[in-house]
C-alpha cells in the first residue's frame, strides 16, 4: 500500500489509494486555450492523414479554371479589355471556391463526430463549449487555407504574377473566408443530426453562394435583381477584394481595370476593401457565436 499525500485532506482518504492521483484543475482561460488547441490540432492531423480528400477538393477548382476558363476564353478572347485572359479574370473567384468545400465539409464532420466519435469525448470533458467551437472554426479555417494555398501555387497558369505582397494578401483573405465559411458550416452542423441532411443542405447553398459572388462575371452593369442578390451573398465581399488585389498587380490600362474589377458598390457608393472584409469577419464571428450558443444547449 502506498501512502499518497493529499494536500487538502491529509491521511484518511489517501490510505487506500494505490494509484497516481492527478489533479483536474477547475476552469481557467489557459485550460480553454488548451482545449481550443486540441480541437485545432486534431483537425490538422485528420487533414494530413486524409490526403485523398485534399486531392479531390482540388478537382473542382481545377475544372473551373482550366476547362471552363479555357473554353470560355476562346469565346471571350477578342472581346476582353486589355487582352486579359479569361482565366486570369476568373482566377480570384475560383481561388475562393477552392476553400469553399474544404471549409464547409470540415465543419460537417461535427455531425458525425458528435454521435460516433471524438467529439463525444470532448463534450464530456470539463471544457467550455465555446472552446470546442472556436477550435473547430480555427481548424477548418487552417486546413481550408492550406487547400487554397495549393491552388494558389497554380496562379502562373492563369497569368497571375507570384508577387509576395499579392500572395500574402490573398492568403490573408483566404484565411478570413475559410474562417467564416467554417463558422457557417459549424452553425449548420450544430442543429443537424443526419450527415446526409447536412450534405444536401450545403450542396444546395454552396453553388448559389459561388455563382452569386461575381466569381465568373464582373459585378457592374447587372440587372437590378441580380445586383441585389450578389450584394446579399457574403462570398461577394471576399471575391471582390481578392479580384481587386489580383488586378492591382497586373499592368492594365485603367479603363480595363474599371471594366473587369469595378469594385463593389452599394447603390453607387463604392464599398472600401476594409469594410468589405470587415463584413465577412463580423459575419463569421456572429455565426460562431450562434454555434456556441447551440452547443451550450444540452439535450
Amino acid at each position: 500500500m502506498t501512502m499518497v499525500t493529499d494536500t487538502a485532506t491529509p491521511a484518511t482518504e489517501s490510505a487506500i489509494v494505490e494509484s497516481i492521483r492527478v489533479a483536474v484543475p477547475s476552469h481557467g482561460l489557459q485550460h480553454d486555450l488548451r482545449a481550443i488547441s486540441i480541437v485545432w490540432r486534431r483537425e490538422l492531423i485528420r487533414f494530413r492523414t486524409d490526403r485523398l480528400r485534399a486531392v479531390t477538393a482540388l478537382v473542382q477548382p481545377v475544372l473551373f479554371l482550366f476547362i471552363l476558363g479555357t473554353g470560355l476564353s476562346s469565346l471571350a478572347g477578342r472581346g476582353m479589355p486589355g487582352n486579359v485572359d479569361f482565366k486570369t479574370f476568373i482566377y480570384p473567384g475560383v481561388l475562393a471556391m477552392s476553400v469553399l468545400f474544404t471549409a464547409i465539409f470540415s465543419a460537417g464532420s461535427i455531425v458525425w463526430d458528435r454521435e460516433f466519435g471524438f467529439l463525444r469525448e470532448i463534450l464530456v470533458a470539463p471544457v467550455s463549449r465555446a472552446s470546442i467551437v472556436i477550435g473547430k472554426c480555427l481548424g477548418g479555417a487552417t486546413i481550408a487555407t492550406f487547400q487554397g494555398i495549393v491552388f494558389l501555387a497554380l496562379a502562373g497558369f492563369a497569368h497571375v504574377p507570384y508577387n509576395p505582397v499579392l500572395l500574402l494578401t490573398l492568403v490573408g483573405e483566404l484565411l478570413l473566408l475559410s474562417f467564416t465559411l467554417t463558422a457557417f458550416g459549424v452553425m449548420m452542423a450544430a442543429r443537424i443530426t443526419q450527415f446526409q441532411a447536412f450534405m444536401a443542405l450545403t450542396q444546395m447553398l454552396v453553388m448559389p453562394l459561388f455563382f452569386l459572388s461575381g466569381a465568373l462575371y464582373p459585378l457592374s452593369g447587372l440587372p437590378g435583381w441580380l445586383t441585389i442578390l450578389t450584394r446579399i451573398d457574403p462570398l461577394t465581399y471576399v471575391v471582390g477584394p481578392m479580384r481587386h488585389a489580383v488586378f492591382s498587380h497586373l499592368n492594365l490600362p485603367v479603363a480595363a481595370q474599371h471594366l473587369l474589377a469595378p469594385g463593389l458598390t452599394w447603390a453607387g457608393w463604392p464599398v472600401p476593401v476594409w469594410l468589405s472584409l470587415g463584413i465577412v469577419a463580423v459575419m463569421g464571428l456572429a455565426m460562431m457565436t450562434i454555434a456556441i450558443e447551440q452547443f451550450r444547449k444540452t439535450e
Binding site: T5, T9, E13, E18, R42, I45, T49, Q194
Partner: protein, 371 residues
C-alpha cells in the same frame, strides 16, 4: 490474477514517482458535499457518490426514464440491468451531464449534474457504448489529448499513462495507430483513457457489448483488477445477466423504472423458487392444466412452458402423473438473475430484447444513413 499481474509489472510507488502532483481535486473540498472515500476502518459509513431522486426524462412523446431513485456508495460496483431501450443509456447520459433531466435531481461525486456540470465532468470517467477513440491517432496520442483536455499536470501524464496502459495490457502497443486495434483492445484502451485523470466514478455504458465471450471475460478481469487497485466507484449498464453477477449491487430497470435494487445474491434469494421449463405436445393445454391442477401461473418463454415453483425437483414427478399433457422434456434450474428479471418484469430479458432489437435495427438504419 491481479497479484501475478502486479508482481510482473511492479509499479513504482506513485507518490515517490511524481512528487507534488498527488493532490486532490480542489473543487472537491469546496463542494457542498465533500467526498470521502470508503471507510477502511478509519471511521463512518461509506459516502454516497451517486444520488438520484425522482429522475425522469421525456423525449417528446416518449418517456425514456420515469422517476428513478437510487444511491451508489463510494467504492461500489453498481450495475444497471435491463433490456435495450429500458432507459439505461438515457440515465447514464443525465449522470454524465450529456442530457438534461425533465424532472428530478442527480448528484455525482457531490455535485449537481444540472447546475455544476464542469465539477461533475472533472470527477467522472466515461466509456461509451460506441468507440470515441480517434483512429487517426496512436494509443498514446489519444491518451495525451485526453490528459490535456482534463488538465492533467504534465509531469504526471507519462507515469499515469504507463499505469493505466499496464493495467489493460496495452503499454507495448502505445505507439500503434488505434485503427489497427481489435474491438477488445479498443475497449480496453477506452477504459484506460477513462481512468487517466483518476476520476471518482467510472461510467461504463455496455462495456462488453459486441465483443466475443473470451474478450468479454478479459475485460471483466481488467475491471475486477481495477477495483482492487484504484479508489473508484463503477457504474455500469448491461443487458447481460452474467455481467450483472460481477456487480456489488444491481438495479433492474424496465420501461424507464427501477423494479428491483439489491445485491445479486439477495435478489436471487428473494425469488425462493426454482424455475421449471417443460416442452410439451400442447403448450396451451399444459398452461391451462398447470393453472387448473396446480394453481400455477405459467407462460411460454424461449419456446418452453415456464413457471416457478418451490422445490422444483420434488414437483417434477407430480407433474408427469397429474398434468395430463404429454411432456417431451423438463428442465429445473435454481433461481438466476434471469428469474429475478422475470419475476419482476414478467418476461425474460431475451423476450424483452425482441422490441429492443427493433430499436437497434432502427438505430442501425440511421447509422447507415449517416455514412
Amino acid at each position: 490474477m491481479s497479484p501475478t499481474v502486479r508482481s510482473q509489472n511492479p509499479i513504482p510507488a506513485p507518490a515517490r514517482l511524481v512528487p507534488g502532483v498527488t493532490v486532490s481535486i480542489p473543487a472537491r473540498t469546496t463542494g457542498s458535499q465533500p467526498l470521502t472515500v470508503a471507510a477502511d476502518g478509519a471511521g463512518g459509513a461509506p459516502r454516497p457518490v451517486i444520488e438520484v431522486s425522482g429522475l425522469a426524462k421525456r423525449y417528446g412523446e416518449v418517456e425514456a426514464v420515469r422517476g428513478i431513485d437510487l444511491t451508489v456508495l463510494a467504492g461500489e460496483t453498481f450495475g444497471f440491468l435491463g433490456p435495450n431501450g429500458a432507459g439505461k443509456t438515457t440515465t447514464i447520459k443525465i449522470l454524465c451531464t450529456l442530457a438534461k433531466a425533465t424532472s428530478g435531481t442527480a448528484r455525482v461525486a457531490g455535485f449537481d449534474t444540472a447546475t455544476q456540470r464542469d465539477a461533475v465532468r472533472r470527477n467522472i470517467g466515461l466509456v461509451f457504448q460506441d468507440t470515441t477513440l480517434d483512429g487517426y491517432l496512436t494509443a498514446a496520442q489519444n491518451l495525451r489529448f485526453h490528459a490535456e483536455l482534463y488538465g492533467v499536470p504534465k509531469d504526471a501524464v507519462l507515469p499515469r499513462m504507463r499505469q493505466v496502459l499496464d493495467m489493460v495490457g496495452l503499454w507495448d502497443r502505445k505507439d500503434s495507430l488505434v485503427s489497427t486495434f481489435s474491438g477488445g483492445m479498443q475497449r480496453r484502451l477506452e477504459i484506460a483513457r477513462g481512468l487517466l485523470h483518476a476520476p471518482h466514478v467510472l461510467f461504463l455504458d455496455e462495456p462488453t457489448v459486441g465483443l466475443d465471450p473470451q474478450t468479454r471475460s478479459s475485460i471483466w478481469a481488467y475491471i475486477n483488477e481495477l477495483k482492487g487497485r484504484e479508489d473508484i466507484t463503477i457504474f455500469l449498464t448491461t443487458h447481460y445477466m452474467d455481467e450483472a453477477e460481477h456487480c456489488d449491487r444491481i438495479a433492474i430497470i424496465d420501461h424507464g423504472q427501477i423494479v428491483a435494487i439489491d445485491t445479486p445474491e439477495a435478489l436471487k434469494a428473494s425469488i425462493g423458487k426454482d424455475r421449471v421449463q417443460i416442452q410439451t405436445a400442447d403448450d396451451q393445454a399444459a398452461i391451462t392444466a398447470l393453472a387448473g391442477t396446480f394453481g400455477l401461473d405459467a407462460a411460454v418463454h424461449e419456446g418452453a412452458v415456464t413457471f416457478s415453483v418451490a422445490s422444483g425437483e420434488q414437483f417434477v414427478p407430480r407433474l408427469f402423473t397429474e398434468l395430463g399433457v404429454p411432456i417431451r422434456s423438463v428442465s429445473v434450474s435454481r433461481p438466476s438473475l434471469d428469474d429475478v428479471f422475470m419475476s419482476y418484469t414478467g418476461k425474460t430479458i431475451r423476450d424483452a430484447e425482441v422490441s429492443g432489437t427493433d430499436a437497434m435495427r432502427q438505430m442501425a438504419a440511421r447509422f447507415r444513413g449517416r455514412r
